[in-house]
Symmetry: C2
Subunit: 210 residues, 2 copies
């Protein structure tokens, strides 16, 4: 289907992380049919992924963002901190500027959307392995648009509020007073130009800030 040198040596060694096992297997199959790429390990969540990468020291690490325990972004950041030299490609459903920004901050070399063509994945692996950067064109443009205006607290509070947690509950969980919680929400609502807490949470989620 694509360029595929047959030599047994010089294979690009890859670790994949993805929480939906069926998709994980499918992605692995997609890469395995390329003659120059070898999937050396698979992981179902962030912790497994981190362990697998540290153990196998692959050339390239492909990961989803939303996973149990540790997000793909967290794993990428940790790998950057540890200077493992493994290049990271984020593969996700979400075309959100905030996610891309965080991905790049976390030292990722690639950012691919799950609705880009299938051949792109193997291509991306090869390019990233050569030291190039691969950003999905759909994101590349709007990437550095609005930065996240929310503070950490506002984010925490908004996340809970968006699930229907009442102010009192939120206050308890975060060890804040209820008034403070309402203040943060009010701030977030005004920053995002929303009509109420739920609207604000929806907007923040859409931008990838949540």
């Amino acid at each position: 289907m694509t360029t595929a040198p047959k030599s047994g040596r010089k294979m690009i060694r890859v670790v994949i992380a993805e929480d939906q096992v069926l998709i994980l297997g499918a992605l692995a199959a997609l890469l395995e049919i390329e003659g120059d790429i070898a999937v050396v390990a698979r992981a179902r969540d962030g912790q497994e992924a981190l362990a697998a990468v540290l153990a196998h020291k692959p050339d390239v690490f492909i990961t989803d963002i939303e996973m149990p325990h540790l997000s793909g972004l967290d794993v990428a950041a940790e790998l950057k901190r540890q200077r493992t030299g493994t290049r990271v490609i984020i593969v996700t459903t979400f075309a959100r500027a905030g996610y891309l920004r965080r991905a790049l901050d976390a030292g990722a070399s690639g950012y691919l959307l799950k609705d880009s063509p299938a051949e792109k994945l193997a291509d991306a692996v090869r390019r990233v392995h050569q030291g190039l950067r691969v950003i999905d064109p759909e994101l590349a443009t709007e990437a550095w648009s609005e930065p996240d205006p929310l503070t950490d607290r506002e984010r925490q509070v908004l996340r809970l509020a968006g699930e229907g947690t009442a102010s009192g509950e939120i206050a308890e969980q975060l060890r804040l007073s209820e008034g403070t919680v309402r203040n943060y929400l009010s701030e977030a609502i005004s920053k995002l130009g929303a009509n109420n807490r739920v609207d604000a949470a929806r907007i923040a989620r859409a931008k990838g800030w949540l």
Copy 2:
């Protein structure tokens, strides 16, 4: 990797529909490595899928639920109506009783979660092709449990409320009085055992009722 008869004849002919192209390609790759399955067409949305199935008359049609234009459930229902004889397998992220129920009503023969093991997919194709039914075990039990307790109006109101639309807005959009909207929400909240409208919407979504 699995049983794979090499004969050129008697291949199981499959059409796959999935809106995330990368996943579509990956799933196809996963099936192609099985010697007895041939992917004869791929579709990116419900309309393409319907056309492809009618054109190719495959043995098995594998589809996601959430797709543009027509959902996988809609396509399944239409195929049932037209008595094409093609068996349908739903592959989705969501372990929601409501979805499974609707899938079975729509005549689907299989319901698989994206986080079941990868080998299950080819297995499911073979079983369904033989006329068997394949339901993901995680769903099979709770499947025929609670039926949706919400009335149509409650559903409509709850959907909007869950996006942060204020009562007054909802009233306008649905041509109801604001008091009535609050009544429906109150009803829904109590039926679902929720704490407030947002919580109710969250619960309803999780059950696949929304």
